[in-house]
């Protein structure tokens, strides 16, 4: 249905009340919000910050997707080491953020991922071959954004956050109840674009969820050199939007907090900034060498906090994750790994002449000349190699 005209809403003049009457925004909690702890035990009280644990059905669904995503990630990392892909930034250990984010969205919502978030793209329904096309180096983007309502995985840091704000705003102006969720890394929050996105979203009350995956590193740079804020969620205060500091390895908590933010955004309540505290257990990409900047012990500690393990423990205790279900999930994960392997074993069918076909919508004579040049060159090479 049609929402109230969003910009008109802003235009009550806050000048007169600029001193005192502005809303006090929600303050992030001091400790990360948690619903299931690392031993798989239910958390309640203050640490739950009023959020309710999702149903076991939802949690099993999250678990299933997380297991599949992990298997995919491991498989693709292996393929990358074998040289089948140009690069692959692993999200292992971050499934507690990635998968709940996907699950909290509706079909018609939009997602703005980064290079890190391939498993989110996959989980939302993009076939493995299409996800990996970019990382193999076939073309910059392997899927259709409109079909999946997923923006291209952004490389220039924080730039996509502004696109999310624009898209959400456009939807709202049109009267559509679409929500845009954008991923951001801890490092990316330092970019000017992150700030501008937070601010535009708050001022325009755009239906946007900012999900900062604080995996504690920007390549080699630890968060201590990235910000002096207590938490990234604290940044929300400076924009007058609600901020939540969440245990990013607790998929239950992440799902609850993201879902609430999505619904607030959908119903006209504006944007939310969520920090998921997690850890990048693998290297930044295959060409990174973490031993240069962090210890094995730190990595080991975080591997113990694995988001899959705690959910497995909880669901097993809850009697939902039976051996039969576990087997079925493992089989589905294997099938996905096979799909990824198969996809990467077929060489892509690329046409160099397509390089000229999408630069503009309009036809450009000078570009067609260059296309013809390459066509002649290819033909000559072909002829040369045949003779």
């Amino acid at each position: 249905g049609t929402l109230a005209t969003p910009f008109a809403l802003l235009h009550h003049c806050r000048m007169s009340d600029s001193v005192a009457a502005r809303d006090e925004p929600v303050r992030p909690t001091e400790l990360p919000i948690s619903l299931i702890d690392s031993r798989g035990t239910v958390v309640s009280g203050k640490r739950a910050a009023g959020f309710t644990r999702p149903s076991d059905e939802v949690l099993l669904d999250l678990y299933r997707k997380m297991v599949k995503a992990r298997r995919f990630d491991i498989q693709v990392s292996a393929l990358t080491r074998q040289g089948r892909l140009a690069t692959y930034p692993s999200a292992s250990g971050q499934e507690g953020c990635e998968i709940p984010a996907v699950a909290a969205l509706q079909e018609h919502d939009w997602m703005f991922p980064t290079y890190r978030d391939s498993i989110a793209v996959l989980t939302r329904g993009v076939p493995a071959a299409q996800v990996l096309s970019h990382f193999r180096g076939d073309w910059h983007l392997g899927f259709d954004p409109g079909e999946h309502r997923i923006a291209p995985q952004a490389t220039p840091l924080a730039t996509q956050a502004l696109h999310a704000v624009g898209l959400g705003t456009a939807a709202r102006l049109k009267g559509d109840d679409v929500v845009a969720l954008t991923f951001l890394g801890d490092g990316a929050t330092s970019e000017g674009d992150a700030h501008e996105a937070f601010n535009f979203a708050a001022v325009w009350q755009a239906p946007v969820v900012f999900l900062v995956q604080n995996n504690q590193y920007a390549i080699s740079v630890p968060v201590a050199k990235q910000t002096r804020a207590r938490t990234f969620a604290d940044k929300a205060i400076g924009y007058g939007m609600p901020g939540y500091f969440v245990d990013g390895n607790d998929a239950a908590a992440m799902f609850a907090v993201i879902s609430a933010a999505v619904e607030r955004a959908r119903s006209g309540g504006g944007p939310t900034l969520i920090e998921g505290l997690t850890y990048r257990v693998e290297a930044h990409t295959n060409s990174d060498d973490p031993s240069r900047y962090r210890g094995k012990d730190e990595e080991a500690k975080w591997r113990e906090l694995d988001p899959l393990i705690r959910l497995e423990k909880y669901l097993t205790k809850a009697g939902v994750l039976t051996p039969a279900v576990a087997d079925e999930i493992a089989a589905a994960a294997e099938a996905l790994a096979t799909e990824a392997r198969d996809a990467m074993s077929v060489e892509p069918d690329l046409d160099p002449l397509e390089l000229f076909d999408h630069v503009y919508v309009a036809e450009r004579p000078a570009l067609l000349e260059q296309r013809a040049f390459l066509e002649r060159e290819l033909a000559a090479t072909e002829a040369g190699s045949q003779s």
């Binding site: 910059h140 624009g166 000017g192 501008e196 397509e354 630069v359 000078a366």
Partner: protein
């Protein structure tokens, strides 16, 4: 296609009235917004104020806050959110307040606006118009008189156009808004108040084509935006000296209209390009290089570049020494050996 004079190719029944370039741009925005509800306008001070050059004057009252509004003060934010809006099917027209203040948006423009269509194999179109008042001649203090066209024209994926008169301002802005490609729309700020008798709405030749404004046989003067007037003045001066100067208004900087320019240069065998921007690596370099490549054996002399110096744009009291003048153009033509 060589078109003589910038005569409108289509025009409404309305009688011609005196219209400034700023007024023509306002009218183009108004008509585009009226015809297409996907067209939205935002930027710094474009709402109640009507923009610092008053190009959006009155539109806020007419269309309301959901079609045109003041954004927070951040150019990357303006362009970045325009991208997201375009991804959802809108056709945003955004304003950068002055040329140098488009630089904070440089990454969004070069890495996204220019590349999204190519990146997505044409699945995502970004019909965005980025309006940029550019160039000098208005006594602006530092950062208010830059000419940034060469940054944009070197960026594949961008279409870059610039009108030199009110009729083109109207027609080309309409065309830019209707284009499914993103367009950098450069507005020569020293010409905002230039008036012509124009019957709006008007359709001049396609925005990607150059136009022969004045025929001549001895030299082809290429100009765009603010220097078109300079070229026409030079042609007058030249005529006094018995020099027959053909003046071409390039209008489109990217793409470049090789056909129109080539035909002219083959006729005159001499050409010069005039712009305000610094010469080194300026747009004139591309013009000189490509016309020479294509017409080398028709050229009687090297193509001249009459441009700003390779210095930061001067302060108001010194800009007159920097900006190309008709006299400077004539003096430059004099450096050729005429046989």
């Amino acid at each position: 296609m060589t078109i003589l004079e910038n005569r409108p190719v289509a025009s409404a029944a309305a009688a011609p009235a005196s219209v400034s370039m700023a007024g023509a741009l306002t009218a183009a925005l108004r008509d585009a917004m009226t015809e297409d509800s996907r067209v939205v306008v935002f930027g710094e001070d474009v709402g109640a104020l009507g923009g610092v050059f008053r190009v959006t004057d009155g539109l806020s009252k007419e269309f309301g806050d959901n079609r045109i509004w003041d954004s927070p003060l951040a150019e990357a934010g303006i362009v970045g959110t325009a991208i997201g809006m375009a991804m959802y099917g809108m056709r945003p027209v955004v304003e950068m307040q002055f040329d140098a203040f488009s630089y904070p948006a440089f990454e969004q423009i070069t890495s996204h606006v220019a590349k999204m269509h190519n990146r997505s194999k044409g699945r995502v179109t970004l019909p965005i118009v980025i309006r940029i008042p550019y160039a000098g001649g208005i006594g602006g203090v530092e950062h208010h008189s830059d000419s940034s066209e060469a940054y944009w024209t070197h960026t594949p994926g961008l279409t870059v156009v610039t009108p030199s008169n009110p009729a083109d301002a109207y027609s080309m802005l309409r065309e830019a808004i209707a284009s499914d490609d993103p367009v950098i729309f450069l507005e020569p700020k020293s010409r905002y108040w230039m008036k012509d008798a124009v019957a709006l709405p008007v359709a001049t030749p396609p925005m990607t084509r150059a136009v022969v404004l004045r025929e001549g046989t001895d030299v082809t003067l290429l100009a765009y935006g603010p220097t078109v007037k300079t070229a026409l003045q030079a042609a007058d001066l030249g005529a006094d000296e018995g020099l027959s100067i053909e003046v071409i208004d390039l209008r489109s900087l990217s793409p470049f209209d090789d056909e129109t320019v080539g035909a002219s240069v083959r006729k005159t065998s001499r050409a010069a390009i005039i712009h305000e921007a610094a010469q080194f690596g300026g747009y004139g370099a591309e013009v000189a290089a490509r016309v020479t490549e294509r017409q080398f054996f028709h050229l009687a002399a090297p193509i001249l570049r009459i441009t700003g110096f390779d210095i930061p744009f001067p302060s108001p009291k010194l800009e007159e020494y920097h900006l190309p003048t008709a006299e400077r153009v004539l003096a430059a033509l004099d450096t050729w050996e005429w046989d």
